[in-house]
C-alpha cells in the first residue's frame, strides 16, 4: 500500500473539492458522445493523444487512445492538477517545435524518435504518469473507457470470484 503511494506521489495533496469536480466531469464524459475538453484545446488534446498512443500503442488490444487517457489528463489539468498545466503545455509546445509543426502530424516512426529524445525529461514523466493512470485507474476518473486498459492486463472487474483462481491452484485442487 505504501508502495502504491509512490506511483502517485505527484498527485498527492490536492483539494478534495477539486477531486470531486473532476470526478463529476469525468463521469459526464464517460457517458459517451464527443468530448468537451476543459483544460486543453482540441489541437493540444490531439497531440497529447498521439503521445499517449505511442506510450501504450493500439494493436489487437486497445491502447491508451481507446482508453481515452487524454480525457483523464484533461480533467486533471482542469481541476486537481491545474498547477501542472503550464509545465504540461510548455512541454507539449517544445515537442511540437521538435516536430516542426504538430506532433500528431508526423509519421509514427518520427513520433517515436522524438519521444526517445525527451524520454528522460520531466515532461515525458508527467505525461506518462497521466497516461498510465488514465488508462488503468477506475473508469470513473474519465479514462479506461469500458475497461479498455484492464483488457490489456487481462483484469476483469467482476469483484466476485470462486476458486480455482489460477492454473497452479487449479492443479492443486485436481490432486
Amino acid at each position: 500500500m505504501a508502495a502504491t503511494g509512490a506511483l502517485v506521489a505527484a498527485w498527492m495533496g490536492t483539494d478534495p473539492a477539486a477531486f470531486a469536480a473532476a470526478l463529476r466531469d469525468a463521469r459526464d464524459a464517460a457517458r459517451g458522445g464527443p468530448v468537451q475538453f476543459q483544460a486543453l484545446t482540441p489541437e493540444q488534446a490531439e497531440d497529447l493523444d498521439a503521445v499517449a498512443a505511442q506510450i501504450i500503442p493500439t494493436d489487437d488490444l486497445p491502447g491508451a487512445r481507446e482508453a481515452r487517457a487524454v480525457v483523464f489528463i484533461d480533467r486533471a489539468l482542469a481541476t486537481f492538477q491545474s498547477e501542472e498545466k503550464p509545465a504540461m503545455l510548455e512541454g507539449l509546445a517544445d515537442l511540437n517545435r521538435r516536430a516542426r509543426g504538430r506532433f500528431s502530424g508526423v509519421s509514427e516512426t518520427r513520433q517515436r524518435e522524438l519521444l526517445q529524445e525527451i524520454e528522460d525529461g520531466e515532461f515525458f514523466a508527467q505525461v506518462r504518469l497521466g497516461v498510465v493512470i488514465g488508462t488503468f485507474a477506475h473508469p470513473s476518473w474519465g479514462g479506461n473507457v469500458d475497461g479498455a486498459g484492464w483488457r490489456i492486463l487481462g483484469f476483469e472487474p467482476r469483484y466476485f470470484w470462486r476458486p480455482p483462481f489460477g492454473a497452479y491452484d487449479a492443479e492443486e485442487m485436481g490432486r
Partner: protein, 551 residues
C-alpha cells in the same frame, strides 16, 4: 449507528481517543462490562456499501488516510539527515483515519507473536545501541487474549508447524489457496522448508451474522464491502453501540488531554467536524490513536506539571519507533496465476522466525506469497526493473506478465533505536494549526541484514518453484511506516517506559495508552493481532480497576 448520544456536559466513565484496531476493541469490552464509553475518532464513518474499488481515490487522493496537505509531516532519514516534507503515503507515518481505522484497511495478516518475542533480551542478551528489552508480560499471559481476539472478531486459518502454543484452532477454516500460495509451498518444500496456512482476519465462512469473503481482490488499502474482513467497524463497534452505553463520535480530532492540579486527567479538548473546539469530561482517558498520534497527543498536552508532555517524566514518549522491515520480491511464472483475485496472502513461511546468532546479526521474520496486483499497483511495481517504460514492448509485458506475476514479501524485526522517534515539528503546522508530526527513522544495520537474508530466501523459493524470472527490490530502507510501534513502550520501570503492564501511564493514574505504541519490540512484521490482544487484555484490567475504585 445506534445507541446513546452523550451530552457535552456528561462525564463518561471512559473516553477513548481513536476507534481503530485497539480503540474499537476497548469500546466493546468496556461498554459490555457496564461502563459508559465515548470514542472520539478523527476520521469519518463509512458503511460497507460506501467502500469502492478505486485505487486512485484511496492511494492518490488519500481519501481515507492522513493527507499530506491537511496533516503534513516532516521526515528525517536519521537523526543527522536533512528534514524533508512527508506524509500522505510519502516518507513518514501512514495511518488510516476513519471509524475502524487501520483494521478496516489493512491486508488482514493476523499473526500471533511467539513466546520468544516477549523475552528476547533474556534469551539473546542486550544489543548495544538499541533498547531491545523483555516485555513485562509473557506469551502465557497473552494466550487467552489472542484466543479471544480470534474468536470474538473472526479469523480464518489452520494451526501450522511453527505456531506458538494455542488453546484451540481457528473459528473459520483456511481461505482457498491461491496460486501464489501453491507456488510458495512448492518452492519452500523443495528447499526443505515448512510452509503453513497464513492466518487472516478475514472470514472464510459466515460468522456472527457476517458474510464470507467473496474474493474480490481488494483488501490491502481498501475497506471490505462484504464485511468479511473482521475490522472493528463491522464487529466490536456495532456490538459496543448495541449496549446503549457507547457512542462513537466521528470527525472529532483531539488536540489536548486536560489535567487538574492534582495531575489527574479531567477530559479532552477536541475539534468537531466544523472545527469548533469542545471539551468532553471523562473519569478516565484511553489513547488508542496509533503509534504516531498517541505520542503526538501526549507531546501536545504539555502543562506546568508536565512541561515535556503528558506522562513523559521518563522522556520516552515518542522514542523507539519501529516500522518492521518489509520488502517485496517478484517472480514471473509460465502459466496464469490470476493472483489479482481474492485475498492478498494464503501461505507463509515461519522457518526463519527466530533470531539465529550464527547469521551474525540480530533478527527474524516471515515470508509470504502474495500479489500487489490491483491494476495501478502492478503498473507501479509489477514489471521487471529493466522493462521499457513505453511502447509496444512495454504493452506486451503488461499483457504477458499481469496474470503470471506474484510477490514473495518478507516481514521482519526492527530493533528499537532511541533516535528513531516521533516528535512535534517546531515549525510546520497541520491544517488545524497544531504542530505537525516529525518522524525520524533509520533502520538499524541488523534490520537491513535480516531483510536481505529473507529476500535472498524468498528469491530462492520462487526459483525453486519454477519461476521464469525473479528479482529483488532495489532498496531495503524503510521510510514509509504503517506499522507504528513502540513509541510509548510498556515496562515496569517508570524511568525507562511510559505505561505499565496494564497500559496505565506511570505518571497519571487515570490515563491509559493502548495501541502499537505500547509494544516493547516489533515482533516479526505483523503486529495487528498483538495490538488487539493487548486491547482485550487491557480492557479486562481496566474494568477490574474501575470496579475496585482504583482509577
Amino acid at each position: 449507528m445506534t445507541g446513546v448520544r452523550f451530552h457535552q456536559s456528561d462525564t463518561v466513565d471512559f473516553l477513548i481517543v481513536g476507534s481503530g484496531a485497539a480503540g474499537g476493541v476497548m469500546a466493546k469490552e468496556l461498554s459490555t462490562a457496564g461502563f459508559s464509553v465515548l470514542v472520539l475518532e478523527q476520521g469519518p464513518r463509512l458503511e460497507a456499501h460506501e467502500f469502492e474499488h478505486d485505487e486512485f481515490k484511496y492511494f492518490a487522493q488519500s481519501a481515507l488516510n492522513n493527507r499530506a496537505d491537511l496533516q503534513p509531516q516532516i521526515f528525517k532519514a536519521g537523526p543527522d539527515a536533512e528534514p524533508q516534507r512527508g506524509g500522505g503515503g510519502g516518507p513518514g507515518a501512514l495511518y488510516h483515519r476513519l471509524v475502524g481505522g487501520g483494521s478496516v484497511m489493512f491486508t488482514g495478516n493476523y499473526w500471533r507473536f511467539k513466546p520468544i518475542d516477549f523475552m528476547e533480551r533474556s534469551v539473546l542478551g542486550s544489543i548495544s545501541g538499541t533498547g531491545l528489552d523483555d516485555w513485562p508480560i509473557t506469551y502465557e499471559e497473552m494466550e487467552p487474549y489472542y484466543d479471544r481476539a480470534e474468536w470474538d472478531l473472526g479469523v480464518s486459518g489452520e494451526p501450522g508447524p511453527f505456531d506458538p502454543p494455542r488453546s484451540r484452532g481457528y473459528p473459520t477454516p483456511p481461505l482457498p489457496v491461491k496460486s501464489s500460495g501453491v507456488l510458495l509451498e512448492r518452492g519452500a518444500r523443495a528447499l526443505g522448508l515448512h510452509p503453513q496456512v497464513a492466518p487472516m482476519c478475514i472470514i472464510s465462512e459466515p460468522y456472527k451474522g457476517r458474510a464470507a469473503c467473496q474474493h474480490c481482490g481488494y483488501c490491502s488499502g481498501f475497506g471490505c464491502e462484504h464485511r468479511a474482513k473482521s475490522s472493528t467497524l463491522f464487529t466490536t463497534i456495532p456490538e459496543a453501540e448495541a449496549t446503549g452505553r457507547c457512542e462513537v463520535r466521528p470527525e472529532s480530532y483531539v488536540r489536548k488531554i486536560e489535567i487538574d492540579g492534582g495531575g489527574r486527567v479531567t477530559g479532552v479538548v477536541y475539534f468537531d467536524a466544523q472545527r469548533v473546539e469542545r471539551f468532553q469530561p471523562a473519569r478516565a482517558v484511553i489513547v488508542c490513536a496509533n503509534g504516531s498520534e498517541t505520542p503526538r497527543l501526549l507531546l501536545l498536552s504539555k502543562s506546568n506539571l508536565f512541561p515535556d508532555g503528558l506522562a513523559n517524566s521518563s522522556g520516552m514518549v515518542g522514542k523507539y519507533l519501529q516500522f518492521n522491515g518489509n520488502a517485496s520480491t517478484t517472480g514471473v511464472f509460465e502459466r496464469p496465476l490470476n493472483d489479482w483475485k481474492s485475498v492478498m496472502v494464503t501461505r507463509m513461511i515461519w522457518d526463519f522466525y527466530d533470531s539465529d546468532p550464527k547469521r551474525g546479526f540480530y533478527g527474524g521474520g516471515g515470508i509470504d506469497g502474495r500479489y500487489w496486483g490491483t491494476p495501478l499497483g502492478f503498473l507501479a511495481f509489477g514489471l521487471p526493473p529493466d522493462a521499457p517504460l513505453w511502447g509496444s514492448e512495454f504493452k506486451r509485458l503488461l499483457n504477458q506478465n499481469y496474470s503470471r506475476t506474484m510477490n514473495a514479501d518478507v516481514h521482519a524485526t526492527s530493533l528499537p533505536v532511541e533516535t528513531n522517534r516521533i516528535e512535534l515539528d517546531p515549525v510546520l503546522e497541520d491544517d488545524w494549526g497544531l504542530p505537525a508530526l516529525r518522524v525520524t527513522y533509520k533502520d538499524h544495520p541488523d534490520d537491513i541484514a535480516i531483510m536481505q537474508f529473507l529476500v535472498d530466501k524468498a528469491i530462492e523459493i520462487m526459483d525453486a518453484a519454477g519461476a521464469v524470472r525473479t528479482w529483488a527490490p532495489e532498496s531495503m530502507e524503510q521510510q514509509v511506516g504503517y506499522h507504528l510501534l513502540g513509541t510509548c513502550r510498556m515496562g515496569s520501570d517508570p524511568r525507562t517506559s511510559v505505561v505499565d503492564k496494564y497500559h496505565r501511564t506511570h505518571d497519571v493514574p487515570n490515563l491509559f495508552l493502548c495501541d502499537g505504541s505500547s509494544l516493547v519490540t516489533s515482533g516479526r512484521g505483523q503486529p495487528t493481532e498483538t495490538i488487539q490482544a493487548l486491547a482485550y487484555r487491557a480492557a479486562d484490567s481496566l474494568a477490574q480497576f474501575a470496579r475496585r475504585g482504583e482509577i
